[in-house]
Symmetry: C2
C-alpha cells in the first residue's frame, strides 16, 4: 500500500520480522503485530528481551551439541549419568522427550538436525565427525540411535550406524514400538519407554 494511509514503517518492519517465524504468513504476522501493539505491549517487550538474551546467551554444548548457556551443558557434567551410554537424538526437543520417560540415565549427542541431502544438510552439519571422535575416546560402550522414525530420520540412523561400524562400540536403535512415520517429540511417554527397553 502507498499513500498517506500506509501503516507506519515500524509496523511494517515488525510484520516482516514476524513473518520469518516458521509457519507464520503475512496475515498471521499482521494479526500478531496488531495484537502486541494494541493489547500486549508488555508481552512484546518481553519477547524482544527474550530473543536478545537467547541469541546472545545460548550456544552449543562442546560435548553433546545441545543448547546450553555454558561451554559444557549440565547433563554432560552430571556425575550421576552413565558415561558408557550415548543416546543420539535429532533435536533438544527429542532429548527432552527421552528425558521425560525417566528410564534413561546415560548421556546424549544431539545432531541439531537430520541428514537431508536435498536441502544441503550433510554429515558435517549434523556433527558426525565429532560423534566419531567422541566414541573413539573409548568410554562409550553403546550408542543408542534415537533419531525420528521418519524417512530422513531413518537415513540419518543408517549413516550414524555405518560410520560407527568400524569402531568397538555396540550400536542399537530404539525398538519399533514407536509408530512408523511419527516424530519422537509427539509420541506418548509409555511407548518411548517401552521402545527403550526393547532396543536392539
Amino acid at each position: 500500500m502507498t499513500g498517506s494511509a500506509a501503516p507506519p514503517d515500524a509496523m511494517l518492519a515488525l510484520v516482516e520480522a514476524l513473518r520469518r517465524l516458521p509457519g507464520v504468513g503475512v496475515k498471521s504476522a499482521q494479526r500478531m503485530a496488531y495484537h502486541l501493539l494494541q493489547h500486549d505491549r508488555d508481552g512484546a517487550l518481553r519477547l524482544s528481551q527474550a530473543l536478545d538474551h537467547a541469541v546472545h546467551g545460548i550456544r552449543h554444548c562442546e560435548r553433546c551439541h545441545t543448547f546450553t548457556e555454558q561451554p559444557v551443558c549440565a547433563a554432560c557434567l552430571d556425575p550421576a549419568r552413565d558415561t558408557r551410554l550415548l543416546c543420539v537424538v535429532e533435536t533438544p526437543a527429542d532429548q527432552a522427550a527421552v528425558e521425560r520417560t525417566g528410564t534413561y540415565r546415560g548421556l546424549y549427542f544431539v545432531l541439531m538436525g537430520r541428514l537431508s541431502p536435498l536441502d544441503g544438510v550433510g554429515v558435517q552439519d549434523i556433527g558426525l565427525p565429532e560423534l566419531l571422535a567422541r566414541v573413539r575416546e573409548g568410554e562409550v560402550r553403546e550408542v543408542i540411535v534415537a533419531t525420528n522414525f521418519t524417512a530422513e530420520g531413518e537415513v540419518t540412523a543408517h549413516a550414524v550406524a555405518e560410520a560407527l561400524r568400524a569402531l568397538d562400540v555396540r550400536v542399537t536403535r530404539l525398538a519399533r514400538g514407536v509408530p512408523i512415520g511419527s516424530e519422537l517429540e509427539y509420541v506418548d511417554l509409555g511407548t518411548i519407554a517401552h521402545a527403550f527397553s526393547e532396543r536392539r
Copy 2:
C-alpha cells in the same frame, strides 16, 4: 522437566514469550525457538529490534486513533483528502483494506477494536466519545460506518449510529454486497469497492 538435561533458562524464557503471540501454543513456540536459535539468529535479532522499535515508536494518532509514529498520522494531515467524509473502521488492517480499493478519498476514524460487553470492551474503549467530539466540530458531513459484518461489528455499527443520531450528520453503512459473517480484511477489493458505491 527437571534434572541436568533441562533446557537452558534463556530457552524456556523464549518459549514462554513466544507463547504470548496469538495462535501460538507450546509446541509451536518450541519449534519457533529452535528454528530461530539453530537456523536464523539474524532473524531473531531483527525481530527483537523490530519489537522494541515498534513498542517505543508507535502510538495512536490523536485525530483518528490509528497506529502512527507521529502525534497525528499522515492521512489525517493529507490536504488531498475530503474532510467532509469520515470512514469508521475497526482496525488499521480494515483501514488498509478500504484504502486498497482506491475508491475512498475521505478521512478515517479507527475504533481499534469493537464493542464486546462480554469481554469488557465498552464504548470508551473504542473511542466513541472522541468520535462524537470529532463530528461535533462540524466539518464532517457523512460518517460511513465500515465495521465488520460480524455480530460484534453490527452491534458496534448500531452503537455508532445511535450515538450520532442527534447530530447534524449523515450516517451510512457499507452496502450489503459484503458477504454476511465475513471480516472486511479478507474480502476481495471489488466487493468492497462496490459496497462503497452502494452505501446507504
